[in-house]
């Protein structure tokens, strides 16, 4: 049923306008099964809006947003504003739209480290606990596509690592596509198959190592972006040159990179970068 070539969700020059202002415009984006696509960008750059376009919560003013028919989505929104007066336990929240057995609830909560919260009131949760519960709810649905809008906000440091591990784990076990918004460049660079850098439009895109060569990326994230990338630089044992040749770590140049294909950097030239400048 899963066609690797067709996306779970596909945005095609999608844009949305509110009043006279474009929130985001000209976004091309495809998430395929088993793929992690990450959106990065400054505050107000349209990351959450793009995620909502992909989910179908917002309709594009121009362009297209297509989802595979029957696509099952797990969504962790950026915020959840539940009124104080609403009596809602975590167990009930997990079952909001889909029937789940008690065991399934426990299992999902256990995965996100929130098992003890099953009977807790939603309004009594802390920010980090709420994130874990929302993630558990998204996973429990066994989604084809997981959309995570800053999934670790408010989560403590060790929990953060565990949750990111869980996310890449889910990609492996469920085989679902993941569209993630994150401010944590370290993690973005470590896990994403594709990074899209937004700033009202797609400012640059590519694999993490491709992005490291991109001027727009550096303009947006500066030295912090560099530091995040530096962590992964040592993975690069070869560089793809603009003419298609490969330069290995020892300085030798040959036609292709033999053996296992590691993360690698593309050497960028003005005409043929390893990435598309879509701005």
């Amino acid at each position: 049923m899963q066609h690797p070539e067709t996306g779970l969700v596909q945005l095609n020059r999608a844009g949305i306008r509110k009043g006279s202002q474009w929130l985001v415009r000209g976004v091309d984006l495809t998430v395929r099964p088993g793929e992690i696509v990450t959106l990065i960008g400054p505050n107000g750059s349209g990351k959450s809006t793009t995620a909502k376009l992909a989910l179908g919560i917002l309709k594009p003013t121009e362009g297209r947003a297509d989802r595979r028919p029957g696509l099952k989505v797990g969504y962790v929104p950026q915020k959840l504003a539940i009124d104080w007066t609403l009596p809602l336990t975590v167990a009930r929240f997990l079952r909001l739209t889909n029937p789940l057995s008690e065991a399934a609830c426990r299992e999902a909560l256990a995965k996100t480290g929130a098992e003890r919260l099953l009977r807790a009131e939603m309004r009594s949760l802390s920010g980090g606990e709420l994130q874990r519960v929302m993630l558990a709810r998204a996973i429990a649905r066994h989604p084809d596509l997981l959309v995570l809008d800053e999934p670790v906000q408010g989560v403590d440091y060790s929990g953060e690592i565990a949750i990111y591990d869980l996310i890449s784990d889910i990609r492996g076990t469920l085989g679902c596509g993941i569209l993630m918004i994150s401010h944590d460049l370290h993690v973005v660079m470590a896990q994403a198959d594709q990074v899209i850098c937004l700033n009202g439009h797609v400012c640059c895109r590519g694999t993490p190592s491709e992005l490291s060569q991109n001027d727009s990326y550096h303009a947006l994230f500066g030295t912090r972006g560099n530091a995040a990338l530096a962590v992964y630089e040592h993975h690069h044992d070869h560089v793809h040159l603009p003419d298609g040749m490969v330069r290995h770590a020892d300085g030798s140049i040959c036609g292709d990179c033999a053996g296992e294909h590691h993360e690698h950097g593309h050497q960028k030239t003005p005409e043929t970068g390893g990435l598309r400048d879509a701005g």
Binding site: K18, G19, K52, L55, G56, I57, V73, Y75, P77, L80, A81, I82, D83, T85, L86, P87, L88, T89, A91, R92, F93, R95, L96, T97, N98, L118, R119, R141, V147
Partner: protein, 275 residues
């Protein structure tokens, strides 16, 4: 039995309260109290129009409510004013328009105070029939959309991402609210309807551990407020509508007393997740 005006008032009032309670819970959860106010003020415009155009009051009130809801959604999309400013604008414009319309119609003599504060003691058998039939329809529809409406209340974005249509459900909910306001106009009046929607729900909050429980308790609290308020108004010769609201407020204050909650915990040892 229905010959007695007091009995008729009691039956009509309790009927309204039973419907208003569950609906009021959603108004409180969705933070739409001000919207309820706007709808009820617009109801007065509906009454004026019904007299002017010679159509049924319920139809006119319902029509005005729907137009108002549509206006609100449109204005919100245009993004010119904040939601509460738009509501304030619509609410008081509708109320003022209604009053001006009524003043123009010198040929009708209408009890304005009755419209604003209700005239429960003049309830007829036809009114009772309308209240119970309308109320039954509203409750049936509410049960039908309950799961979707509840999901949309917790998070419209989550509901939308999972294939529900929260906007459509919200529109149905607004319609139901408009119907309740139309049928309860005579019992409690345009200015106090929101109180009967919100206060019993607020009183039920501390006593309930699940949304369904809160809806039932709100309905019962509303009915108790109607009974208490009507008896008090008979005894102390106070206006009936406001007396009902005062009784509801007393119930709310009672729900804040710690002892009541202790009793509740004893009654419900297992904190519920029933769904």
């Amino acid at each position: 039995m229905l010959d007695d005006f007091f009995t008729r008032a009691m039956i009509a009032g309790i009927g309204v309260a039973l419907v208003a309670g569950p609906l009021g819970c959603f108004i409180v959860w969705r933070r739409m109290a001000y919207f309820g106010d706007t709808l009820s003020h617009a109801a007065l415009l509906g009454v004026a129009l019904s007299l002017l155009l010679n159509v049924n009051t319920m139809v006119a009130v319902g029509g005005v409510s729907v137009i108002l809801a549509a206006l609100l959604i449109l204005l919100r999309r245009r993004d010119t004013l904040s939601s509460d400013a738009i509501l304030g604008l619509l609410s008081h414009s509708a109320l003022a328009l209604g009053l001006v319309c009524l003043a123009f119609m010198t040929w009708v003599r209408i009890d304005l105070l009755g419209l604003l504060f209700g005239d429960i003691l003049s309830v007829t058998r036809l009114d009772i029939a309308l209240i119970y039939m309308g109320g039954a329809v509203v409750l049936a529809l509410l049960v039908l959309i309950w799961r979707r409406l509840f999901a949309a209340t917790v998070s419209p974005d989550l509901a939308a991402s999972e294939g529900l249509r929260p906007e459509r459900t919200e529109l149905v909910f607004i319609l139901l609210t408009a119907i309740v306001i139309a049928i309860s106009l005579k019992v409690i009046g345009a200015l106090l309807i929101t109180a009967l929607l919100i206060i019993p729900a607020a009183a039920a909050r501390r006593l309930s551990s699940s949304p369904e429980q809160m809806a039932v308790i709100a309905a019962l609290a509303g009915a108790a407020a109607v009974a208490g308020g009507l008896y008090a108004s008979l005894h102390y010769d106070t206006p009936s509508g406001p007396s009902i609201v005062v009784a509801a407020m007393a119930l709310f204050l009672l729900s804040l007393v710690p002892g009541v909650q202790i009793v509740r915990r004893m009654l419900a040892p297992t904190q519920g997740d029933r769904s």
